[in-house]
Amino acid sequence: MLDTASRAAGRQRSPLRRPSTPTLVNAGVIALLLLVALLVLPQLLSLYYIDAMTQVAVYSMVTLGLGVLVGRVGLVSLGQVAVLAIGAWVAARLLFATAQPYPVILLEAGVATMVLGTLIGLPALRLRGLYLALITLMLAGALTVMLATVNFPNGGHGFFGYNGSAVHIPAIRRPSIASSDPAYFRYSVIVAALMFLLAALHIRARPGRAWAAIRQSEPAALAAGINITLYKLWAFALASFITGVAGGVMAGAVHYLYSINFPTQDSITLLAVVLMGGAYSLWGAIVAALLLQLLPALLNNWGVSADWLTILFGIGVLQVLTTAPAGLADQAPKDLARLGRLLLGRLRKLTGSVRGSQ
């Protein structure tokens, strides 16, 4: 008894202070990937793929937001593309109306989306699972209909900033330091990295622990003194903020926004790729964004219809749900390690037999 107590006390300094080896490896990998994305990719890729990768950066934020909701808290939202549209709309409106610096606009778009997205999240306090998914899908549908009538701002006047009879439509501006496509790609990667940092800070702190408890068991969370209402709303607020910022980045990336670019059913595809990428890890969000944006670009370039992806994603979700519930981000490293061991074993056997025959 005393022995275990003193052992536990002796270990007091070990956890959570000194970063462990996996943490350092993780940090190294992140730094390397960021460097590659910022310095190597813009040199290497054609403008076509740079545009695609900018979309990957934008959608990695959207999948990150959905990943927080689904993977961390267990709230299934089927309205995230509508939330993205809100962010894009607000950013576009402000970019046309004011000369504020781009980062300020992104922040404002994020905050405005956070407020609206949290309102969408209000039913989440009473609903769970299928019903929550359904209600968010309905709200997203309603928003799509609204957007189709209101339209995205195109430099017109009034609250909506839309001028239906405009012949020459001005492009949505980009930050002056990132007006070219490669520069804007770098800009998007940095904004996305900041959003990932924001999410990681949440997950490692008080809200992350509270979300883990809520996801596993609401009674256990309540018994621990967690205000479930508050932390669920917090999750919606964070996800909406991140998605709103993504919308702001998207506005600059595409120059012209149309409501047909935000169809309701895209939110369903979004959930599918988040599940395939891995909802429980931040890496999963990046994998999901690659699946959602890079894969269609590749297929288009190869002359294959991107419609095949709908089928592929369907099979992918089935595969993930039956064999790899933590998604590709969890499964791929394990499979690669297994493959490596297998090849190494074969190689050893081969060299052994070669030596044996000599």
Binding site: S14, R209, S217, L222, A223
Partner: protein
Amino acid sequence: MIEVDGLTVRFGGVTSLDGMSVTFERGTCGLIGPNGAGKTTFFNVLSGFVRPAAGTVRAFGEDLLSMAHFRRARWGVRRTFQTEQAIEGLSVFDNVALVHEHSTLPGRTRRQDVFGAISFVGLAADPSARVHTLAAGERRLVEVARAVVGRPKLVLLDEPAAGLPDEETRHLGEVVRRIPGYTGALTILVDHDMSLVSACCETTAVLDFGKLIAVGPTAEVLRDDHVIRAYLGTADV
């Protein structure tokens, strides 16, 4: 001290608790009864998951039932669950810290208090280990550590030893007995293991079909004719 008066809980046509009145003074108190007697329902009322149809509960002079459920934990109600509910995705440390950071205690004592609770329950596992890697007995101890951290006033243990081997049950009994001394909290233990209840509890109350049928010193209660009949049934029925 907790005073329960006329507590009644109905689920549709089923009366789970039927005018239960009892006072638990201090120390570790047992609450026993056959399956479906209303023991867990009583805990659910205390932790706020179930709203009673009638009755009052005063705990240390405060009206417990008027508090929102998550506030009760902050005030000092802690509980474990029949099916163990340690949070799998978090480390041992975070599991216990989670309760501490939602209590009224200051953050600067958190590390010390959390490690204190972990060593109090005698958990030898690495505090930074994820809970899903632990054995069943260790997960139970994590849950008990969550229940004793952050100055609780009322600790409710719902069959903490269910499914554990004898050796671990004995260790758990040892821990449960020391909870009032360590925390100063009134501890209520629900269990079917009578040797555990007699080892831990000075007083014991017995529920049967939602009614309190006996309360008093544990040894006397376990000899009580009504209690034996409730558990074993009678020949003349």
